[in-house]
């Protein structure tokens, strides 16, 4: 109880500090701390799936994206907003907070829940993790849209590339660090990280884990090797790159259409085949998400970091 109170208080303090921070870099650093504290809170609430995702995507990858954005924006990000803008931001934040608080406080008691239905029908999916069953079977459409959004994000980021740089390597090539701490990390961590990612992907069917968390780790390992200059950033014109990014969502859509043809509903799985189909889609999505996330952090071709 005391620990929960401390975590909640720390989240509020760090959130305030993030908003009040003067520099963009400070704000991002605080935002990463905020994400890690938030994943603590999710663990305490008994939602380790969300905690893992929050730590990997919310704090880790979003943090890396925001750090990159802060570095690219440079001084422009440090300029304080005008008075009208400040008022608008304050109004927007207050509105969201009040709406969320009202939504939570106005929930009927007991809160509406679909958990019993999930528990009752989980056996048909062959999955042991109810979160995975919801994400891949009962609300598969949401997951499909989520993964498709990442493809759109990559296209949007790439469309910011200047014409003369188009087709070149994404982001900027990092200088090769032959020795020193970064080179050590880039040699030491990727084997372990890839192993952990495969484990998290595979165990996701029965325990907390899954494709997004695994993909975030894989993307981080690739980014580490790129930052140490051990691998060149991929050419955006490379065919394999585009195929991998699109393959996951495309396969998911194809399987959805197959369900529509054979079972009469989009994304319906044939009985008995649900688990193998889900696992194949999970693996393909992991590859797509990992590459998309890494490409987003590396940025469009031709920009100076």
């Amino acid at each position: 109880m005391i620990a929960d109170g401390l975590i909640a208080a720390a989240i509020l303090v760090v959130a305030m500090a993030t908003v009040a921070a003067r520099g963009a870099f400070t704000a991002v650093a605080l935002f990463i701390a905020y994400g890690l504290l938030l994943s603590f809170a999710w663990v305490r609430l008994g939602a380790p799936d969300i905690a893992l995702t929050e730590a990997a995507i919310g704090a880790g990858l979003s943090g890396a994206l925001l750090l990159g954005a802060a570095a690219r924006a440079g001084r422009a990000a440090e300029r304080p907003p005008g008075r009208a803008m400040t008022a608008a931001i304050a109004l927007g934040c207050t509105g969201v907070t009040v709406a969320l608080a009202a939504a939570i406080l106005l929930l009927p008691d007991p809160a509406p829940s679909l958990a019993p239905q999930v528990a009752a029908n989980m056996a048909t999916t062959g999955l042991g993790n109810p979160v995975a069953a919801v994400l891949m079977a009962f609300r598969g459409l949401d997951t499909l849209l989520e993964s498709a959004v990442l493809v759109l994000a990559v296209i949007a980021a790439w469309s910011l590339a200047p014409d003369e740089a188009w087709g070149g390597p994404s982001g900027v090539a990092q200088p090769m660090s032959r020795d020193g701490p970064l080179a050590l990390l880039a040699r030491l961590l990727p084997p372990l990280g890839i192993l952990a990612a495969v484990h998290i992907l595979w165990i996701g069917k029965d325990a907390p884990g899954g494709k997004f968390q695994a993909a975030a780790i894989l993307a981080a390992m690739w980014m580490l090797a790129w930052m140490a200059g051990r691998v060149a950033p991929p050419q955006v014109s490379a065919r394999w790159l585009r195929v991998v990014v699109a393959a996951g969502p495309a396969l998911f859509i194809a399987i959805g259409m197959l369900g529509w043809l054979t079972e009469g509903a989009f994304l319906a799985y044939p009985p008995g085949l649900a688990l193998p189909i889900i696992m194949v889609v999970e693996v393909a999505l992991t590859a797509s998400i990992a590459v998309a996330l890494a490409l987003l952090v590396m940025g469009p071709p031709g920009r100076r970091a």
Binding site: G180, P181, L182, L184, L185, L188, L189, L192
Partner: protein, 93 residues
Amino acid sequence: MSLLVDAASIAAILAGLVFFAAGTAGLLRFPDASSRLHALTKADHLGLGLIVLGLLPRADAVGGAPRLVAVWLLVLVSSAAAGPLLARLARRR
């Protein structure tokens, strides 16, 4: 026997907390980036090591104990690498 294990476990965790507190105090009070990093990484390594040591007898899941040790080793490697990186950056500024 279990009382002895519990006492050792609690002592190790408390000692770990002391190191974390000392590292945080150093981070807040030391004058320049290098010494702040020094306080942070050294104290965290020892503090986390002691806490992991204290938690080892309490790890119940299969493979829980090796996982705890793996967490400690990974933190050791990553902060041993991050510390010098930050220190180089701080010196260049």
